[in-house]
Structure formats: C-alpha cells, structure tokens
Amino acid sequence: MKHMRITTAHQSITFSRRMMLLGGAQAAVGGLLIGRMGWLAIAQNEKYNLLSESNRVQLIPVPPRRGWIIDRNGKPIAINKASFRVDLIPQQIVNGPSVIAELQQLMNLPPDEVERITRELAASRGFQPVSVADNVPYEQYAAITVRLPELPGVAASRGFTRFYPGGSTVGQLVGYVGPASVIEYEKENKNPLLLIPGVKIGKEGLEKALEQTLRGEPGGQRVEVTARGKLVKELDPKPDRSGGTVQLTIDSDLHQYAARRIGDQSSSVVVLDVTNGDILAMPSMPSFNPNDFSDGISQNEWKMLSGDDHVPLVDKALESLYPSGSTIKPSMAMALLNAGIDRKQIVVCNGAFQLGNHTFHCDKRHGPLDMDGAVVHSCDVYFYTMCLRVGAEKLSPMVRSMGFGEKFDLPFDNQRFGTIPDPDWMMRKYHRKWQGYDTVNMSIGQGMVLINPMQLATMASRLATGKRVVPRLLKNKPVGPQTQLAVDEDHLNFIRTAMWGVVDHGTAAAAKLPLDGIQMAGKTGTAQTHNLSAGERGNYTASQWKLRDHSLFMAFVPFDNPRYAAATIVEHGGFGAAVAAPLIRDTITFLYDKRKAMAALEAFEASIGGPPDVRMARKTAAWRQANGLPPLPAKTA
C-alpha cells in the first residue's frame, strides 16, 4: 500500500513535469510561428509584394509599329503594309501534322512552305510561334478565322508587314527583317516582345543597324488576370511608341535607276554629293528581294541566292574588295607632283618595262608621254618609272588621304576597308622588305592594293573638291567638317583637267555625257583578278566570266564646278572604259536629265531581256528547272 502511494505521487510529479515540457514545446512552436510570420511579412515584405504584383498584373504587349526608312526627299524606302497573317503556337497544337495538312489545303501552301513550317515547328521551343504565312489574302484569312475552333494552335491575326517599294534594288541597303531567333531572344534577356507573332526585327543591313531607332517602344494593355488566365479588369494601358523614322541621304529614284542600269552585271554603284558627302545612291546588284525575305524565304530560294556567282547576298559597295587598277593613277600623279616630279617630263612607253629580270607590261605602246598624257591614256609604264623614282614612302600617304583604305562610320556591320600597302605595313604583315616590284604593282593599283567602291567614290569627290569629303548616309547625322587636304591647288587643277581629258579624248571618250554644258571628269580602271600570262593580257572577254578583269570607273561632274562624284566597280566586266564608264555616264545623266536617262535605260534593258523583275523571274524559273523543282505558282497580288 505504501509502495502504491509513493508511485502515485511519483506519477503525478511526472505528469506535472511533462505537462510543463509540453506547454513549453507548445509555446516554442507558437513563438516559431509568430517569428516566421514576422520574417515573411516584415523582413521579406518587399520581395513578396513584388511577386504578388507580378502575379496580379499582366501585360498583354502591343507591338509597336516599326519606324519608316525614307529617302532624302521623303520617299518611302521601307514602310509597313497592313496585312493578315497566320501563325502556329507550338504549345497549343494538339495534332501537328493534321493541322498543317488542313492549313495546306485551306491556304494552298506550296510544298516548300510546308517543309519549312514542319521544320520550324520541330525546332521551335514551345513558346515561339511559327509563322505559317504573312500577307494572307482576305478570303483565306476569313476561311481560317471561321475554322479556328477546330484548329487548336492556329492563330490568325491582323498585323503589319514590312514593305520595300524598291524591291531587290534596295535589298543590300536595307537588309531585311524576320522573326527573332532563339539566340536573338536570349541575347535580349528574353524580351517578351520578340515572341509575339508578327514581330520582326532587323536581320541585316540598315534594318539591323538601326534596330533600336526603328523598333519603338512596345505598349501594352495592363490587365488583372486570375491564375487561370481569366481577365478580371483592365488597368490603365501603357501606350506604345512607334519606331522613329529614319531619313537617309539616298535619292531613291537615282538609287533605283543605277540598280536597274547595272543590268545583269555583278556590280555596285556609289554616287556622292561632294558638297557634304551625302550618299545619293549605293545599289549593289544583283540582290535579294527584301520583301520575300520579310515573308520568310524557302530553303530553295536561299539555295539559289547563296549559290549565285554574282553574290546577291553581299553588299558589294562596302563588303567587297577589289584591286583599284588604274583608278589609283590620279592620286599617284598627285603624289608624284607633291614629291617634286615635273609634269612636263617625258617618259617613253615601249609597251613593256623591265625591272630586274621581270617584265611589266603596258596596255599598248603609248610612245612618249608627259603626266597629262599618262593619265588620259592610262599608261602604266609612265607610272612604273616615276613611282620607282619617288619611292613608296611618298606615295602611300597621298593615296590614303584621298580615301583608299579609309574606314567610314556607316551604319553597316560587315564593312571591309581594304589595304594601301607601304614598306612598314609589308614588314608587319609579311615580314619582308619592300621591293621595287611592290612599288611597280602599287603604282597601277595592283598587288596588295584593295579598295571598296565607296572608297573609290570618296576618292573622286576628294579629287574634285580638294576637301576631306566623308560619306554620310543618315540625314540626321551632322556633316563632318570638310577640312582642306594637304595638297597644292595647282596640282589639283592639273589632275582635274587630266581627268576631264580622260573622258574628253582619253580612255573613256565613249562615256561623254549627252548633256549640253555639263562635262564629266573621270578615270577608268581595269583590275586583274588573277595572274594572267602576258599572252592573255587584254583578253577582256575571256570565255570564262570568272577569269575576266574587273571594270572600274570613277568620275565627278561638272568637271569645272564639281557637285557629284560617282564610282562603280563591275565584277569581271572587262575593260573599264567599255562597261563601267557608260554605267556611270547614264547614272549621272539621270541626275540632270531624267527623260534622256530613262530612254537610255529602256534601250539598255530591251537589249538584255526586260526589266529586273522579269529577268529575275526568268532566272528563278530556269534555276528551278535545272534543279528539278516544279515551277512556282503564278503570284496573285
């Protein structure tokens, strides 16, 4: 009994002790809960407020309208056209193949397109819409809209398509736009704007370089939505801001004229206003049609363009480099005069020049010539002789100051600037001493000399003005200070007269302007593209197009009061005077007399098989046939 009592007492002590323990544990849990709540609601309040707001408010982005690109007179170069479009949203698609088949039937999609859609759908990352078609005709748009409930994943919407009235003539200038790729999307920190179907960004050319100006600010409807995406109420919208208009210095009519005048050649033309450096035209032909690219091109189109030996995907005005050939001679002559050579001194041309055990040839046997004659008739031997006498160190700086090898700040990504060599450069680059034959090669713009057409036009304008003219493409960019070049005005006048002589009675005599009172000064050039043997020299019409020489011409007008400068390099065009000079002649004629120039163009186009669109279509058809593809369906615009 005693034992029992003690244990009962013991038990009640245990109970009290354990009750205290339990109470303590409960109080601890209560404290923990209040502490935790305080931590969440006070210390982390800001973080959770943000999360709560981003839950509550969603932005339905409204893509901004892309800014226009206009020419110097306000004519549109790149604008937007209202259009209907159809997209596929990969995430929402239930049965991909059947939806595509349905769309193919509803929209008459060509097999090329079906293949592209299937490929893009397979590569897509769920969130990224795949464009089925832009510019859908209204009837097809309506047919699809009616059937949307049966076609999960298909989105039909109204939007804007980029439109380039100039078509392929402005291809290299403006580049093109297209939907953002996964890489571009991630590069922009997953900018949600890029995911909206129909939103396109610049991929090449000006569209890419001016992207930030052209894009504008996306606006959006701010809405309160439930977790299930149901709209609760609309909050105040964030207004969108259209992209800015960019005005170019380009004269759209002149640009297109020059592009058409290039014809079937592979060439670019640059026309500058020498008073301020404005680029009036810079077509590079053949080119691609940026309107097709903006719609998304098929693999076949791409194959055709990239396989073309006339390189339509390269902007030849800025990205291609060529030997300057004889167009370097006026600048060389300036250098010679500067180095103290008497322009009356005679050099006798026997048609060849011996240096060591190597013979350098001339065009023909010119006989005795002074400097004026050497420029007018483009005698190589004169320049070999005189340049060797002066030495390369005194030649290169003058040529460079005239624009060759110079880098221009133009809004393009892939510009290449070429080389004007000198002894130091030779040592740095090739670790060898400069030799006499290097001077000989450079004196006629061969050897290491590489330039682009923009530099050639710049050289013409600097010779014309004696000022450091810098090409300018964006109208809102201030005109750079046109500093005087460190040259003698008397030397310049002499060179200008010699260049006038080139057109008046020299190598380009066939390219006189058909205008009264306006005379052109210029210089032809013929650039070897590979080492022709002596016997092949002058074979300007070699059977293989690729083996022919490049044909160059630079000019300024009017010769006595220069206003415009122009240059062209026609790839494998043959003798400079035969192809390049007439091209510049007609282009410059257009600046003064449009009617006369158009007549010349029509006659020219008739001789080569019609306007560019017709020739392009013919070329495409021939390519498709050659590659065993069915002809394209006739386009209904």
């Binding site: 009750m19 849990v29 809960l33 209040i34 709540m37 609601a41 407020n49 709560s52 839950n55």
Partner: protein
Amino acid sequence: MITSAIIPRPLAKLPWRLIAIVLGIATFGLVVLYSAAGGSIHPWAIKQAIVFVAFLAIAIAMSWMKESTIKSIAFPLYGITLVMLVGVEGLGFVSKGAKRWLDLGPIRLQPSEFMKPAIVLTLARFYELVPAAEIRKWRAIWPALALLGVPAVLILIQPDLGTCIMVLLCGVTVMFLAGLPWWVFAAPVAAVSVAAPVVFSMMHGYQKKRIQTFLNPDSDPLGAGYHIAQSKIAIGSGGIWGKGFLHGSQSHLQYLPEGHTDFVFATMSEEWGLVGGVILICAFAAVIHWGMRVSQNARTRFAQLTAAGVSATIFFYVSINLLMVMGLAPVVGVPLPLVSFGGSAVMTIMLCLGLLMALERQQRTVSRIA
C-alpha cells in the same frame, strides 16, 4: 463565471470567456471566408456559420456530461469509430482520390475525425486502468501501441496522411503524459533520424523531388511547390497591416490554391497582415492554454489525461496547419480549425471543447472531498 440575478444559473455557469474567444475566432473565420468568396456569404460563410452554431450548441450541451459518463463511453466510442474506419475501406465514398467518407443517408461522416478525440479518451481510460506500478512495464505499452497503431494504419491507407499524423501525435501525447519511459519516445526518433538518409537514398526520383520541393519550394514554383510558394507570397505581401479587407489579390485572383480551406490562414494574412495573424495565433493559444489549465486542475487521472490530450489535439490542428502554410512543414492537408471551410474540423474541435467544458464543470461542481 458570471454571477447575476438576471441570468439563469445554468447559463451563468458556462465558461463564457472560452466561448467568447471561440466565437471570436469563428466570426473572424467567417469574415475571411466572406472575402475568400469574393465578398459573398455564399457559398462558404453561410454554411460554415450554420455548422458552427450547431456544433457550438452540441458542445455546450456536452458540458453537462458527467465524467463517469465520458469514461463509460470511451471504449465504446473507440470501438464504433474503428468499425466505421473499416467500413470506409469497404463502403467508402471516394472524393479527391481518397476514401474518407461514409455515406449514412442524409449525413456523410468522416470517421477519422472522430478518431482524434476517441483515441485520446481511450488511451486516457486505458492509463487510468493501468496501476501506477505497472506504468514502466511492457504491459502498459503494447496495448496502447495497438490501440493507436490500428486506426493510424487504417487512416493512412485511405490515404489521409494529415489525419494519420494528427491521430498519432494525439495518442503519443497522452502516452507521454501518462508517464511512459523516455526510451519509448526516444527510440523511434533515433531510429527515424538514422534511417532517414538511408531511406532518402533509396527513394525514387519523384519521391526525392517532393522532399526537395518541401525543403526548397522556390526550386519548383510551378509544380509541387506552387501551393507553398503562393502561400508565402500571400503572407509576405500582406505586411504588417495587410492589404485590407476584400483586397487580397493572391486569393481573389486564385493564385492561392485552397484559399478557403487549408490555406485560409494565407488568405487572412494577406488582408489582415501580421497583426491579424498574431491575434489569431494568440486566440488559439488562449483556447489551448484554457484546456491545459483544465488538465492541471483535474483531480482524476482520466480527466488529467483527457483534458491534456484534447488540448493537444487542438494544438496540433492549429500548429501543423500554420507550419504548413508558412512553408515550415510539408503540405499534408490539415485545415485550420474554426477558420477553414469544412464541417469536419469544426465538429472535432467542438467535440474537444465540449469534453473540456464538461471536465471543467466537474472541477467546479464536485466537491474536493468526494
């Protein structure tokens, strides 16, 4: 206790302070449910109010029960509940993927809810019968383990992990207070902590993922961690004073799942802030403290253990729910009593409070000498 000539004696003898706190909690709960429904008494607040009033009446009625009556129904109640649990397995009504309900004509019963007070009563009764000298013997342990284990397993296979844990914790609390040796409790804890890493390494990928999601819900905010993540956003964005009544965006825009049931505390916190939360927690603490006091003042072992056990039941209800809502425990599906919408939790809590009130009344009415 209120003493007044006007108020009838039986009414005056009710524990009004407790009833006031419980009424306060429940009223606050109705306000939150009103907001959770987007500012409407339908569909939750009105139903909840009716259920609450009905069970409050039952609880008050229970307060006149004698301790001897309670004692005598302990084993039968346990037996009936166990039979019903087995019945659920056979005839159960499937809802939300689990068999929990027994359809008895007009009423649908969730027997596992009855098991919470029933296990407390049964174990209290059992330990009252065990002589003090026997308490450290195996004879005092295994029957309790059996009484606890069988219903726990039956509930676990429904499956209803939340209720199973609750029943286990309530039972273990009574066993702990009854004075079982420490090793009974220490051994399983030690075993679990040793086995956990081993078990974890043997788990399937998805099981591991669930545990990882609990430990770091932000790692999977759209998947399994969604509930916890959204709940924390609701509580955290409420701040000190809350966003204001009817202005909780998380709950009104349905980002907060189960905002009227298990996660009702997050709904409340978003609109009433830390202040509302602390007041609610303190109110529950007061209720539990009241129950613990009943236990401490009890003169019989049965009353001691029962009062402590049912208080612990309320405590576990509240604390497991809040730990879960605040991201400190995995989501197991335990509602917040009196606030979450749903009759079962109200019923259990009211049964517990009824028992506590009955025991408290005994303390005041039965003379100390008897």
